[in-house]
């Protein structure tokens, strides 16, 4: 009965998106695991149901629709394109057995490179409209701003690459930043390695696939890093401000404009935020009430690299988000073997929506 109600609601939501010119698509429940494992590694292995097929190799019960929909789109090359879908996804809930391990998602994805700010706002508004008048709290963020800040740091490219790689792992990002900023000491083993006249003395025989050359290259990289000046306290403070932002969007915008004076690299990202907020206002979103968090979306899968958003039950903080979404240009680049298609989308959980409406 509950599942039937959920599926009916899912159909309603999908029809709602279809009425906004989205093409209804289907994907297989069983997906090849290779692509997902290559993209997300152990994170996805810990969260998905994997199974072996004697002919097709390792398969996975789809943990989301985004990857197969992107793959589908990359073959059709339609531009612009809008898709909607509804169906079950499967996730292991290792740490919280009370959460559902299979649930229905309804999604809306927009592939449109002409005006990204407008596409961001379009998706946010479409999801909001689909959710109706249930009391929900919207949270937003923009991972593109942090990425731009990292790329503009006055330090070596190697350090910027290391930080950019860990934007989605806030703790390691923080550790790296502390070390690059001279806030934590060099580990003793590294100091000893760099001081040694022969780093390989007593190293033992070479073994395995990682070659001596690779070890030597890393030592060179460590030497170069040791010779690099620390990231300035001023820049560290600016990054702290960025990641700690938690205000309404209009206030965040003016703060970011101030920060951009000292950190011009974030200028284009701030301009884009401005354009997005204008577009959201055109869709009737009151940006003076729209929350923005500098670190929002950083602990989800390595996926979103721009605008991110979520809708939460206003009076039940324990409930998973009713809807989430964001921009994932980099994902399309990786799946398209270098050919990126700007993409933004969001998903709704119809079961949670019904629950909040008191319908089930």
């Amino acid at each position: 009965m509950t599942l039937a109600a959920t599926l009916t609601e899912a159909d309603r939501l999908r029809d709602f998106f279809a009425a906004r010119d989205a093409v209804v698509v289907q994907t297989d429940v069983l997906q090849s695991a290779d692509t997902l494992l290559d993209l997300y590694g152990e994170d996805i292995r810990g969260r998905s149901y994997l199974t072996a097929d004697p002919i097709r190799g390792e398969m996975v019960l789809r943990p989301d629709f985004t990857v197969p929909v992107v793959q589908m789109h990359m073959q059709s090359h339609a531009d612009p394109a809008r898709y909607t879908y509804a169906g079950k996804v499967f996730r292991k809930q290792d740490s919280d057995p009370d959460r559902a391990n299979e649930f229905v998602q309804v999604g809306y994805e927009v592939f449109d490179g002409v005006n990204p700010a407008l596409a961001d706002a379009e998706v946010f508004a479409a999801i909001r409209d689909a959710l109706g008048d249930v009391p929900l709290r919207a949270a937003t963020g923009d991972i593109g701003i942090l990425m731009a800040a990292v790329s503009g740091l006055r330090t070596s490219q190697a350090r910027k690459d290391a930080l950019a790689r860990h934007i989605w792992r806030p703790r390691r990002f923080r550790n790296l930043l502390d070390r690059f900023g001279g806030r934590t000491a060099v580990p003793p083993s590294r100091a000893a390695l760099l001081a040694a006249s022969d780093p390989f003395a007593g190293a033992g025989a070479d073994m395995g696939k990682r070659s001596r050359l690779e070890v030597e290259r890393r030592i060179e990289a460590l030497r170069a890093d040791a010779a690099t000046a620390p990231i300035s306290g001023e820049e560290l403070a600016l990054l702290d401000t960025l990641t700690g932002l938690r205000e309404t969007s209009d206030h965040v915008l003016s703060q970011l404009r101030d920060i951009a004076v000292d950190m011009p690299a974030i200028g284009p990202a701030v301009t884009r935020l401005n354009a997005r907020l204008d577009a959201l206002e055109d869709y009737g979103v009151d940006v003076s009430k729209l929350e923005f968090e500098g670190s929002y979306g950083r602990t989800s899968l390595e996926y979103y690299d721009g605008f991110v958003f979520g809708f939460y039950a206003a009076d039940d903080p324990t409930l998973p988000p009713v809807a989430t979404g964001g921009r994932y240009d980099a994902l399309t680049a990786r799946l398209g073997e270098g050919v990126a298609v700007p993409a933004v989308g969001g998903v709704i959980r119809p079961d949670l929506l019904l629950q909040l409406r008191g319908d089930i």
Binding site: G41, S95, P97, R172, L193, G204, G208, K209, R210, E214
Partner: protein, 229 residues
Amino acid sequence: MLKLGVPSKGRLMEKTFQWFGQRGVTLRKSGSDREYAGAVDGIDGVELVLLSAGEIPRELAAGRIQMGVTGSDLVREKLVNWEKSVREVALMGFGGADLIIAVPQAWVDVDTLDDLDAAAAAFRAVHGHRLRIATKYHRLVREFLKQAGVADYALIDSQGATEGTVKNETAEAIADITSTGETLRANGLKILSDGMIHASQATLFRTSRRDWTMQQRATFKTLEQLLGT
């Protein structure tokens, strides 16, 4: 009856028998040496069940035994939210082994998780696949590396002779239990200085008393007094 699961062979069984024996509870195998039947003297109402150490966590979680002796590593690996399904009655002081991460000694540039993460990124760029870590402790290792924010690795299942996987080039690093580290060194490996995932030892566990009968509770009380726990 209060069912007590004990490892069915080897040093772990002998040490467990000894540990209980020192506390006035005699556990022994009954019948021939090959049979997995057991007997308990010194207390009434306890039944000895001989099981593989690896199965004891599952049997506890399923409620088929009320008490069990096994490695704390196995309970943490096999039971989701283990603290909710079982309780530690006594740390038994033997069967000590550390679940650690080890890499080739030739990797002079790798001593910390930070190094491992950086090496993994470079390795993936060079070889086109993630740095492979062989283990049978998938959940513990994954959770540990996730907490530490290590990326670009993949876990490879290895149920035995894990130390040999690097030499055989089926993995670049390993996560395994070791007590002295000797086998690791003999296989050209070294332990990461901050790669200690869990210090395991033989532990007496029990299930939640909520589902126990009055008789089981009474027996447990007597046993607790004998064991001094």
